[in-house]
Subunit: 317 residues, 2 copies
């Protein structure tokens, strides 16, 4: 991650190492030079085991594509019925052999059953225990006491924004609502016009600038924690809304599995940075006003969807 910068490295955004002046242990008459401000990367490197949390295997999906594995963390606290239905669909093999159907530039990639609406009756993939409609879990009551670490910065889409156990969220005390926000990599349940028409059988992931106007209009249920670079490069579809025009353009989904159902040797063991720690607050501050030799003017601000939520691989136990 911290290679030296080469080929006119341009915009580096907090990934360069700045040299921290070492504190002297010798008494001297002139005061020591002020320490250079630590960068995000330097601070992240100081994280201890307590600053990370493991993924809950029951709420972790592995979507295996021909190009590799995408790991999705479900958020059962914000979308319990959707997370539950997705797990049910996964366990009955609903997604295995389906396909990515849509890639719209600067917006979303979406997958599901290509025959779900256009086919003759009986030709769509049937659900066994999974449900085809669900209550609209677009928001949750604030008084449900979900964890919240507030970001001090203003936001145009919500009176308050911050993080809930590693997910970006908005809150409105006046309406007693909190919700997962549409940042890059967030996963939601596609729906038709009826507000109960989403089920998790058709999922999308944000691949462009955060479409925050979707917040509170659709059930967001998780986040891609590894593998975005497999999804974000998929060719853009040329039909309306970025759907692929020809069946052969679709990307097949080999399988989606729940981590706990996968043999330990085949798991992708990841940890996510905790967002309720002193370190996390320090990391955010390092991005709000960046150190290092490259930045000339600090932003003095960070937008919710520009805060990275770090993920690291861990040695399997």
């Amino acid at each position: 991650m911290l290679n030296p910068c080469y080929v006119r490295c341009a915009i580096v955004a907090g990934l360069l190492v700045s040299t921290i002046a070492s504190t002297t242990v010798f008494a001297q008459s002139k005061p020591p030079a002020p320490k250079a401000k630590p960068t995000y990367s330097e601070l992240l490197a100081t994280a201890t085991a307590a600053d990370w949390r493991a993924l809950d295997l029951e709420n972790t999906l592995y979507m295996d594509l021909p190009t590799g594995r995408v790991v999705i963390e479900l958020n059962a606290a914000y979308a319990p019925a959707h997370a539950n239905n997705v797990r049910t669909l996964v366990r009955e093999g609903y997604f295995d052999g389906l396909a990515i159907l849509r890639s719209q530039d600067n917006y979303v990639v979406q997958w599901g059953d290509p025959e779900s609406e256009n086919a003759e009756p009986g030709k769509t993939r049937s659900m066994k225990l999974g449900k085809n409609t669900l209550i609209p879990e677009y928001t949750r009551p604030l008084d449900s006491k979900l964890p919240f670490t507030r970001l001090p910065d203003i936001d145009g889409y919500a009176p308050q924004v911050g993080f809930s156990n590693g997910f970006p969220v908005g809150r409105n005390p006046k309406t007693n609502q909190t919700w997962l926000t549409h940042c890059y990599g967030m996963v939601g349940a596609g729906r038709d016009n009826d507000d109960n028409s989403g089920s998790g059988a058709e999922l999308y992931v944000v691949t462009g600038h955060a479409p925050r106007h979707l917040d509170r209009n659709i059930a967001v249920l998780g986040r891609v924690v590894q593998g975005m670079s497999l999804i974000s490069v998929l060719p853009r579809g040329t039909a309306a809304l970025g759907f692929y025009e020809k069946p052969e353009q679709r990307v097949p989904i080999k399988s989606i599995r729940i981590a706990v159902d996968v043999p330990a040797a085949e798991r992708t063991n990841l940890e996510v940075i905790r967002t309720d720690t002193r370190l996390f607050t320090t990391l955010v501050e390092a991005l709000r006003n960046r150190g290092g030799p490259w930045y000339k003017v600090p932003a003095g601000h960070i937008e919710l969807c520009n805060v990275p939520i770090a993920v690291r691989a861990v040695v399997s136990k």
Copy 2:
């Protein structure tokens, strides 16, 4: 653009046609039903010739890749020295045969001379009239009277935001500065740590969530107006900062040319929506509080980088 929605169309974001109740011409005792709120697409379809402007051929670049053409509009008002130097470099053939060197997920794609720093002396591509360093055009004086149509919405990165002749901009009256902002598709001039080390010989384009913390730290000089979907899908590089590890992974640039130097028959004739019109204000309002049957809750807000600046193809003259 307005195909019917199929396959559980999910999140559609203003691209669906809503039915506008036709006004009745018959007198009747009860008042007519209120008109459905027009959508962005419906409003855009009402644009007249005066709502569009043609690209200035002297400030339009064609970057021809193996997969097709990327069209970039230079902004000579905000970055005059950079736009001038880029045109000079283009005209001396500097970019022809160079390559895209970097694709970092949710951030930028960047191109230039792969040998510019690592090669032995004399092996890098030499410039003839082009300059290797330039004054840092990160901001412009507000009192230079550049056009500005203010977006009424709050923004965390700038006291005022809006549009200047089809480009997203920020402004700060207290510091007497205005600047082009790092929204999706914006093009800037990579630089090293020295603030005059950018020249336009190495260019980057934003391919992810707007990295607005770069604003005022680097010279932004244009916008991709066509062809983002050729750039955004490039495989992510696996070296630090998304650089490609192996030379064969780089994407060759066949040529970059200035539109005015290209035979008329080979030009890509485009028009950009004007951002100083009543129509544009109406378009933005339609996105701030979206109509149509899909949205349940209006956002009541739009962020600068979520405002599309429409482009259309025109029949060549």
